[in-house]
Structures are given as C-alpha cells and as structure tokens.
Amino acid sequence: MLRNSLILLVLLGFAAAIFPLLHSYEAKDALTGVAEHYANYGKEEVGAANLVSAVVVTYRGFDTLGEVTILFLASAVIGLFLKASETYTKDTRSVFFKSTEILVTASRLLVPMILLLGVYIFINGHLTPGGGFQGGAVIASAFALLLLSRPQKHFSHKVISVVESISGISFVFIGLLGVLLAGGFLDNHILAMGKFGTLLSAGAIPIIYILIGLKVGSELTGIVRNLKESQKEG
C-alpha cells in the first residue's frame, strides 16, 4: 500500500507538473505560425485539397518516411523475434471463435470490398480524409479478417516482403528524384501539379500515398501474419 501511495504522490506531482500547460492554454481564433502559411499557401505550393495530407506527405514528408520506417522496423523486429522459434505449426484454429461457414462466406464477400476501400482511401488521400496509413490499415484489416475466417490459409511471406520492399525502395527513390529534379528530398513537384481538387493533382502525393498505403498495408499484414504463424506457444 505504501508503494501505491508513493506512486500516487509521484502521479500527483506529475499532474502538478503538467498543470501549467493546461493552465496556459488559450483558445485561438486564427492560425498562427507555420499553420497560417500552410493554410494560405498550401494550395499553391502543394496542390492538395486535404491540407493534412499536404503536411503529412510533403511539408513533413520526411517524418512520414520515418513513420513508415518505424512500422517497417517494428515488423522486422517482430519477425526476428518470432522467427527464432521457426517451427511453423500451422495453427488452424481461429483466434477468437470457431470459424463458421457464415464467416467464411462473409469474408469471401467482404475482403475484396474492404481491400477496395483501402485502395480508395489512399488514392484519394490528397483530396479527402484518409491516406496511405489509413488505407494501409484497412488493407491489413482485410487480411486479418481473412486470417480469422480461414486460419489454415497461409499467405506467402515472400509476396508480403516483396511488396513491402518494392514500395519502400520506390518511396526512397521518389524522394531522391525530388533532389534531382525538384527542390529537395521528397519534393512533390517532380510531377505536374494538375488541376486542384482532382485525382491527378498535387504532384507526386498520390503516388507517394499509394506507395505508403502498399507499404503500410504489407507491413501491418506482416505483423499480423507473424503473430499468427509464430510457434504454437507464442
């Protein structure tokens, strides 16, 4: 109990420490700083209707590259972790519940639709909410559903990693093209800006988002697959 009271004390201290942050919060009524610039010039500079996408893919594109790398690394580490006990026993049981006929049928129907949704999300990332990450996650959930419904299904590690690799390399390559052809690493001006608000606009953003979507999708799928296919006890 003493331990818990001490922890409570620490937590209260921490709360007290962050209190000034809350305390000095003031509602704004207009954008300031870099956000103002993004709002006012983002349209001309990047050409993406979705300013969040503009920030994510272009202004802070380098972060996004890092983000992709994190997922990639997490997937690699998990692979490394679970591979050590490499004896694949095909785990045919479902994780949550017995796979039923209904589920199997439903998944047959649903999976392609979900995949399509995912693709839609990342292709339209520069126009509507969503983008590569969300799309990738949706794709991964499609595969997760597949795994749920048909546990005996074993999809090739190879395919996943090839997709992952190619999309990753392409991402870096496009970034480098920015250095060679435009203003810097990950500059989206390597392609024509197109007409604002249409699918083929915003330079390289759609392409990058597609690559991100594929990469994130394959990485997340890889994580799920690895978890599933690791040795029975793990």
Binding site: V34, Y59, A76, L80
Partner: protein, 1043 residues
C-alpha cells in the same frame, strides 16, 4: 561531396530492399548492408574532412523543396559531420563484429541494425523537433530489436524494461513538443532558439518536458535501471553499439537543444550529470559482471558529458573541445571494451585472466582502460585538463571536486579489473575463440585512440609543445618486444645514455641533479636486467615509459607538460609494479593513490592557471587566487608519490612485491619524482599561510618528521626483507620532506644530498636483497640466515648500504645528517629535530635486523648449496659502492655542487668549505680527516688483534655455548622472527596500522554505499518507470521551485 541525404537514402533503400533477398542470400544481404554502412561512413567522413581541411561552410539540407520552418530541414555542419562519422563508423565496425550473428539472423537483423544507425544519423542532423521525435522512436525500436539478437530470458526481460522506459520517455517528449508547437507555431529548432525567452510559463514547462525527456534518454542516475539491464544482457556487440552509438547521438541532441534551457536549468543539468557520474561509478565498485560494469561506466561517462554541457557557461569556448575529447575517448574505449568482452565471454571480471591467452587483446584492454580514465596520450587527458582549468577560471570548485571524485571511483573498478586480467591467480585459463572479424574492430579502435590522442594534442594550444619523442621510443619497444631480453636491455641502455647525452647540456639547477638520478640511476639499474633470461616481454616498454615520464618532468616548461609527464610516468610504473608475482592488490592501491594525487595536482594546476596568460611553470610563482590551496593541493599530490604518512599505504606492498630490478627503479628513482615536484613547488611558490597564520611548510615539516619516525618504526617490525626496505624508503622520504620544509640553504642541501644518496643506497640494498631473494626464493628474513658464507659479495653490499642508510660516520650518509642538525638548529625546529634524531636511531633497528637476519646467525640447511647472487645483479651494486666510498672520502665533491645550485635560491647560511673541512654557523666537520682517522684506528686495532690472535681456527656452525646443550637445528637457533618483540610490547601501539585501517574503512564504506545505492535497481521494470516519473517530478520541482 556526396550530399548527406544519401546517407539516409542509402541506409533506408538498402534496408527496404533487403526484403527482396531470400533466406539463402544472407551473405549477399550482409555484404550489401556493410557496403551501405561503409558508404554512409564515407559520406560523413568526407564531410568531416571537408570541414576540417578545406574549411567548408555548414550546409542545410532542405526537404520537400520548401524553406524551414515550413518543411523539415537537416544540417550538416562540422559537428554533425563529426558525430555522424562516429555513428556510422560504429555501425560499420559493429556490423563487422556482429557478422556471424547477423548472418544467422538474416535480413531482419541487418534491417534492424541499419535502422538504428539511420535513426541516430537523422537525430543528429535534423533541425526539426518532431522529426527528432520520430527518428528517436526509430532508433528506440531498432534498439529494442537489437537487444533480442540473442533471445533468452535475460535479454527479453531487459528489452521489455527498455521498451517500458523509452515508451514513457517518448510520450513525455511528444507532449512537450506539441505544447512547444502550440505556444510558438513552429517546430523548427532554430526558431525555438530565436524565441526561447518567451515569457509564458507554459512554454517553459513544455521546454522542460522536452529537455527532461532527452536527459532521460541519457540514462541519468537513478532513473536508469533499464539501461543497465540492457548493457548487461545484450550481446556485447550490441551493447557496444548502444554505448558508443546511442549514447553519442543522444548526447549530441542534448548539446543541440541546450540553448533552449535557462541558465538555471543548465545548473540542474550539471547536477544531474554529476550525480550520475559519481553515483554510477560508486555503484560500479561492487559490480562483478563485466558488461554491467561497463554499463555503469558508460552511464557514468555520459553523466560527465552532461555535466560538461550543463557547465558550458563556465567552460566557455573550450566546451566543445572538452566534451568532444572526452566523448571520443569514451566512444572508442567503450566500444572496444564491450567488443573485447564479447570475445572473452566471461561472466565475472575475475575470470578475465583468460585474456592472458591473447597478448594483443590484453594490450588493447589496457589501452582502453587508460583511455577511459583519461591518461595521456589519449584524448580525454586533454579534455579533463581543459575542463579543470576552465572550471577553476570560473570559480566552480564544487564541480572540480565532484568530477575528480567520480573519476577516481571509476579508476578504482577499472584498474581492479585490469589487475585481475593481468595478475589474478587463476589456476586454469580456458582459451577462447578469436575471430578476425571480432578482433579487427577492436584493433582499429585501439589504434584510433593513439591517432586521435595525437591529433587532439596537436590542436591543443599548450599540448603542442610537449616532447613526445621519449614516449614514442618507449612505445617503439612494444614493436621489438619479441627480441631477447639482453638485446632490448642493451638498446634501452643505449637509448637512455644517448638521451642523457643529448639532454645533459640543457640541464641546469635542480634539473641536473634529478636528471642524473633519473637517467644515470636508470641506466645503472637497467644493468641488472642482464640477469634475466628469455624475452622478458612487456618490461622494456613500460620501464622506458616510466623513464620517459621522469625525463618529461625535468624537461617540462609548462604545467600541462609537467602533468602529462607525471601521468606517463605513473602508467609506466604501474605496469612495472604489477609485474611482480603477488603485486595485483598493491598495484591497484598504487594506482588509486597515484590517481588521487594526480587529481589533486590537476586541481592545483587548474587553480594556479586562473588569470594567467600562459601555462608556464613560472606562473606558479605568482598564483593569483587561493595560492594556499594551490600549494596544498600540489604538495599533497606530490606527497602521494613520496609516500608521506597517511598517503604511504600503497608503497610497501608495491615496492616489496615488485621484481628484483623493478624495486630499485620504483623505490630509489621513482619516488624522487615526488621530491622533484616538491622542490619545484617550494621554489616557485615559497611558503603559504593558512588563514594568514599557520605556515603550510611548517606543517609539512612536522609531517616529514613524523613520517620519518613512523616509516622507520614500521620498517623495524617487518618480517619481509623487501617490505622492510620499502618502509625504510617511507622514512627517508620523510627526512627529505622535512629537509625541504626547512626552507634554508642547509635544509635543502641535506634534503637534496639525501635524495642522491638515498638513490644509491636504496638501489644498492634492493638489488642486493633482491639478489638474495632471487636465490633463496623467499622474502621472509627469518627463513634466511647465515648467508654471509654463501653470498659474501651481497653481504658487503648490504653492509655498505646500511651504514650509509643509518648515517653512521665515516660513510657518506653522515654528511646528510650533520647538515641536517645544523639546519635544524638554524631553523629552531628543535622538537622536530629530536624526532628526526629519534628516527635515525630507529633506523639502526631495522638495518641491523636486515643484515643480521639475512646474512648472520644460523645458515639454514636448505641454503647450504645456495649460490651467490647473479653476476649482473652484483655489477650495478659495486658500481654504486664505488661511488659511495668516493663520496664518503671526498664529501664536498657531492655537497659543493649541490650547494652551488641551492645558493641562488637560499643564499644565506651556506657552508664554508676549506678543502674537505666544512664549517657551518653551529659546527664543523671534516669528512676526509674523519675517514682517515677512523680507518687508521681500525687498521691499528686490527693489526693488534691479529698479532694476538693469529691463525684463528674456523669452527663449525653449532660450536657455540648455549645453556648446557648444543643446538643442532638452525631454525630454532636463529633468533630472527619477531626480532623486536619487546619493542613492540613497549611502543607497538604507535605502529598499529591505523592509517591503513582508515583507508580500508574508507574503501569499505564506499563499497558498502555503492552496494546499498544499487539496491534501487531491484530488477522490476515497473519500479524503473516509477523512478523515471519520480525523477521528472523531482527535477521539475528543483527547476521551477514548485509552481
């Protein structure tokens, strides 16, 4: 110039691409990864070279084609180039080292490794705070992956703790970053630096959270249990990467963000760093697991670096030099040590004796240990020097004490470890596998310590002038170590002789006297080295290194050169001392006391430099601040070498257990380095008053007198012949200290002349006794006896030696005593004088005991066939005897020149010489006449006796009258054990080892403290998180004083 963005593109591209490689292509994946890491190293090194050689301007790398702050930008400046070079080189050699392991793991392993290096590269270069967060996460996740390269309970548990800790830390970092954005509307670091004085309290708190998160990444004490577990459990190759790579990069982040903190926070930071430095080194004392120990050391060193950052206001423009030289030393040494640990694969430091199987690794191990602690010629030496000087210049004495204390603690466990490796008695030394890919990185880093050490010294404004030639010659002997001993001995003697010939014209004043002791003395003692057969590996480099240091002391024109030479000498002598069979614990205490003394000297020199325009030795004569403290610090520093009472406990063991010809080197020659230091100090600074009243030199005089008495008393109670001689050195050095403290012509004359004669008789005695020990294989005197019959030449040496030592007329030892009493009378230090006289009489006790127990009395059965000491050990003895007899008959041949040297400094009270007749204000003395008279009387009496007692018949050993029976066993008839039992009964209370006990108590206390403190690392990952949170709260309270 290849654009730095290619570092990132290459590493990422290859990492992504490795997915295309199948399992069968692990080797090619490995080569590709190595290539990528090598290319990254090449790019950063190319930039570094560009900055260094061509003075390029720093270059910004813009992403996305926009200017910051609107997009993320990276900076490749001089510092970034340096740090990325370090990281990439660590990555490259780390990969080489881990080659086998990586091959087994496959592409995921390479990906993880490259991911980590990539993350570290970016956090060094980026100028965007959120970007920093992202890539910090990358390196964290990659590290979490690296930890489980070897999967077992330990690594997994450690990895999980690591994840818990970094999870919390990054959460807090993120919180801080978004609030900083909220308050300023930007994420660019350069913008923050421009607006950091924003008066909103919330902004300060946000900055605090960012900074504290970075601090926590640096594993501050006590919120660092997770880091230690990682160091202990992870594969050594990984631990090397974390210690060399992650710590280096995190340090740079701290450096980069430092201007965000208020001056107040900088002080807090310095405090955190110092607590970490001292705390983790204290806890390291009890540690036996090598990797965890390295972890403690690593965390401690990073703590020191944090302190340096926190104190940057005081360190001024030298901050970078100081930080970088220490950082690079740590980088190279820690990586090297972890790598060696991975090759050796032993779970306790005591088992490191196996390192003796590989000479190369042993050498490298030593190099890294000395690099880490900051000995010359390694870079951190210069860093520490500058740090102390700058701190002193800013009046920051608290930090000086703290940093030196922490360094000392670190030295204790590192040298203990080195001692175990070199000398611990292990019955079996199982061999270990040495693969070229594991050794190569270690060798490269080991060589780099020297190269960078030289480089650092060449850019240091004052270190440039140091003469490196003697040291280089000493190191050259490492290369010819395979030659037979006699060849190397000849070369060493020639080298010394040549250097003395070269040096001789430049020597003057006291330099000439001590130069003669060091160089001529060195040559004479080296002659005994011919007695050794075989190769005698590892002796000559260190012997010459010690002499190089001694020479350097004399040559030194600046304080840094002096200190440099002092440390070189310490290193050389340490290795000489540890060569003895049972020297391990003694070498350790020698090293610890030497370090302690050296640190005091460092502090002294630092304070002395305040307000001076240069570092010339002459600045000591006009110290501007705290001259008394400077004087005391330097004096105590020198007195650790002269083994004054209280600081003497290392000496007996170190000198007694050393090899036959090493004992005279360390006892007769090395101790004079301390005397030389005192001479220099006294001349430069004169007397100082404590609180304007008590003279320091007066106190030193008392100390010298008491040391003389206690040293001699303790010598009288020794059973071990060499230990007896060692204590005798303590006593004689007490005389010398006393003589110097008299600060008069005669006082100095006696002190300097005793220094010279002490060299001669102590070398003589140690060589003679060493020769005896060489033959009879024991140092216990009561196991010897009657050896005069077997070793008459050695006996004669000892006889002459003890007569000189005891200061009996007519031999030259008396001249010192006679001058002494005149000096005492003139100074009016009567009570001290009586003590000195008393100690002189006590000297009779042990001199008699020495010669009686060894050479007189009953010859033991097992020694009936024992041979005279080796010829080459006798040769230097008789050279010395010749000189001693000459000085006895013609004392002014020694005293007059010394007097001439002293006169410019102490013109009053010089002796008045008429031929050999010396007259002082109090008395007179004619050595030559006395010599003649005594010899004539002796001869007359001898003739008279021979007339009366011709053809005396030699009787057998047991032909003695012994209470009605005839003894037959030498063991029971030889009165030698506990020779002065009754004396011990009378005054034994004085010689109880209270001082030794006190120091042991201190050591025990420190170990117990460390043991107690480290209990906070209870192994519970949750507790570690609690520590982190509590740490944040406490530092918050300190920084903001509540709210």
């Amino acid at each position: 110039m290849v654009a730095p963005i290619y570092i990132i593109a290459t590493l990422l591209g290859v990492a992504f691409g490795l997915g295309l490689f199948g399992k069968k292509m692990n080797s090619s994946a490995g080569f590709l990864s190595l290539l990528a890491l090598g290319f990254a190293s090449f790019i950063s090194l190319e930039w570094l070279a560009g900055f260094w050689l061509y003075d390029r301007a720093a270059e910004y790398i813009y992403t996305a084609g926009f200017q910051p702050p609107f997009s993320i930008n990276l900076l490749m400046g001089k510092e970034e180039a340096l740090f990325t070079s370090l990281i990439n080189i660590a990555g490259f050699f780390g990969a080489v080292y881990l080659w086998d392991k990586l091959k087994k793991i496959g592409s995921n392993g390479y990906v993880t490794l490259m991911g980590m290096i990539l993350g570290l590269n970016v956090i060094i270069m980026t100028r965007d705070l959120f970007n920093l967060f992202v890539f910090l996460e990358i390196s964290s996740i990659a590290t979490a992956g690296l930890i489980i390269f070897s999967q077992n309970l330990r690594t997994i548990a450690a990895g999980f703790k690591y994840m818990l800790a970094t999870g919390i830390i990054s959460g807090i970092l993120l919180l801080g970053i978004v609030f900083m954005y909220y308050f300023t509307g930007t994420l660019n670091i350069d913008d923050f630096l421009a607006v950091h004085s924003l008066a909103v309290k919330g902004f300060g708190v946000a900055v605090f959270f960012v900074l504290i998160a970075i601090v926590l990444e640096l594993k501050p004490f006590p919120a660092n249990g997770w880091g230690l577990d990682v160091y202990e459990s992870a594969d050594s190759g990984i631990a090397a990467l974390i210690s060399a790579g992650t710590a280096t990069a995190s340090f740079f982040v701290m450096y980069k963000l430092l201007p965000l903190g208020t001056p107040q926070f900088h002080m807090v930071l310095a405090g955190i760093g110092l607590a970490t430095f001292i705390g983790s080194n204290l806890m390291g004392l009890k540690q036996t697991n090598p990797n965890r120990l390295l972890g403690y050391s690593s965390i401690g060193q990073v703590g020191l670096l944090v302190t340096i950052l926190g104190l940057s206001e005081f360190l001024g423009e030298r901050t970078t030099f100081i930080a970088y030289s220490i950082l690079i030393s740590h980088f190279l040494a820690k990586a090297g040590l972890f790598w060696i640990s991975g090759i050796v694969k032993r779970s306790t430091i005591k088992e490191w004796a196996v390192l003796r199987n590989s000479r190369l690794l042993m050498i490298l191990f030593g190099v890294f240990v000395f690099t880490l602690i900051g000995f010359p010629p390694f870079p951190s030496f210069f860093g520490k020097w500058d740090m102390m000087l700058q701190l002193a210049a800013s009046n920051q004495y608290f930090w000086i004490i703290g940093v030196l204390l922490g360094s000392l603690l670190e030295g204790v466990y590192l040298f203990r470890w080195l001692g175990y490796a070199l000398k611990l008695d292990n019955t079996e030394l199982p061999s270990f596998e040495v693969k070229w890919n594991k050794v190569l990185p270690v060798v490269v880093f080991g060589a780099a310590t020297f190269v960078i050490g030289y480089f650092v010294s060449s850019i240091h404004p004052y270190a440039k002038v140091i003469n490196y030639i003697p040291l280089a010659v000493a190191l050259a002997f490492v290369l010819i170590d395979f030659l037979p001993a006699y060849v190397k001995n000849t070369l060493a003697i020639l080298a010394m002789a040549y250097y003395y010939y070269y040096l001789y014209p430049t020597l003057s004043s006291f330099g000439a006297v001590f130069g003669a002791i060091f160089m001529v003395g060195g040559i004479v003692t080296l002659i005994a080295g011919y007695a050794y057969k075989g190769q005698r590996r590892g002796f000559y480099p260190f012997a010459l290194m010690m002499f190089a240091g001694l020479i350097g002391l004399i040559e030194a024109k600046t304080t840094i050169a002096f200190f440099y030479a002092w440390e070189v000498m310490t290193v050389g002598s340490y290795f000489l001392i540890i060569r003895g069979k049972k020297s391990m614990p003694h070498a350790l205490s020698y090293m610890i006391f030497s370090m302690g003394g050296a640190y005091l000297m460092l502090a002294g020199f630092a304070i002395a430099s305040v307000g001076q325009f240069n570092l010339d030795m002459s600045t000591l004569s006009h110290v501007l601040v705290y001259p008394t403290w400077v004087f005391i610090l330097l004096a105590v520093g020198f007195m650790t070498k002269t083994a004054s009472l209280g600081l003497h406990i290392w000496l007996p063991g170190a000198h007694a257990e050393a090899e036959t010809d090493v004992s005279p080197m360390v006892s007769a020659i090395l101790l004079k380095a301390g005397v030389f230091g005192l001479v220099t100090l006294f001349l430069a600074m004169g007397d100082q008053l404590i609180g304007g009243e008590v003279s320091v030199i007066y106190l030193l005089g008392w100390l010298g007198a008491i040391t003389a008495v206690m040293g001699n008393l303790m010598a009288a109670f020794q059973e071990d012949a060499k230990r007896l001689l060692a204590y005798s050195s303590v006593g004689v050095l007490g005389y010398i200290l006393f003589g110097l403290s008299l600060m008069s012509h005669l006082g100095w004359l006696s002190a300097i002349s005793i220094s010279v004669t002490h060299f001669m008789f102590k070398a003589l005695l140690f060589l003679a006794i060493g020769g005896v020990v060489w033959r009879v294989k024991t140092k216990e005197m009561y196991r010897m006896g009657g050896l005069i019959k077997r070793m008459p030449f050695s006996f004669f040496s000892v006889l002459i030696g003890i007569i000189v030592l005891a200061g009996l007329p007519p031999l030259s030892g008396f001249s010192g005593k006679w001058i002494f009493y005149n000096a005492i009378m003139m100074k009016q230090w009567y009570l001290q004088g009586a003590l000195i006289f008393f100690s002189g009489i006590v000297a009779f006790l042990y001199t008699f005991r020495l010669i009686h127990s060894v050479f007189l009395g009953q010859l033991k059965d097992e020694h009936r066939e024992v041979k005279e000491a080796p010829f080459w050990i006798l040769v230097p003895q008789y050279l010395i005897i010749g000189v001693l007899l000459f000085f006895s008959a013609v004392p002014n041949s020694l005293l007059k020149p010394i007097g001439k040297i002293i006169t410019p400094y102490f013109p009053v009270g010089a002796l008045d010489w008429t031929g050999q007749h010396a007259v002082s204000p109090f008395g007179y003395w004619n050595g030559l006449v006395i010599f003649y008279i005594v010899v004539s009387i002796f001869l007359v009496v001898l003739v008279w006796l021979i007339i009366n007692n011709r053809r005396a018949q030699k009787v057998k050993q047991f032909n003695i009258v012994f209470a009605a029976e005839r003894p037959f066993k030498p063991e029971t008839t030889h009165y030698a054990y506990n020779f002065y039992a009754h004396y011990r009964k009378a005054i034994g209370i004085l010689v109880e080892p209270k001082i030794t006990g006190w120091w042991e108590g201190v050591a025990e206390w420190a170990h117990a403290m460390g043991d107690k403190i480290r209990k906070i690392y209870n192994g519970d990952g949750q507790s570690y998180v609690i520590h982190i949170m509590a740490f944040i709260v406490i530092i918050y309270l300190i920084s903001f004083g509540g709210f």
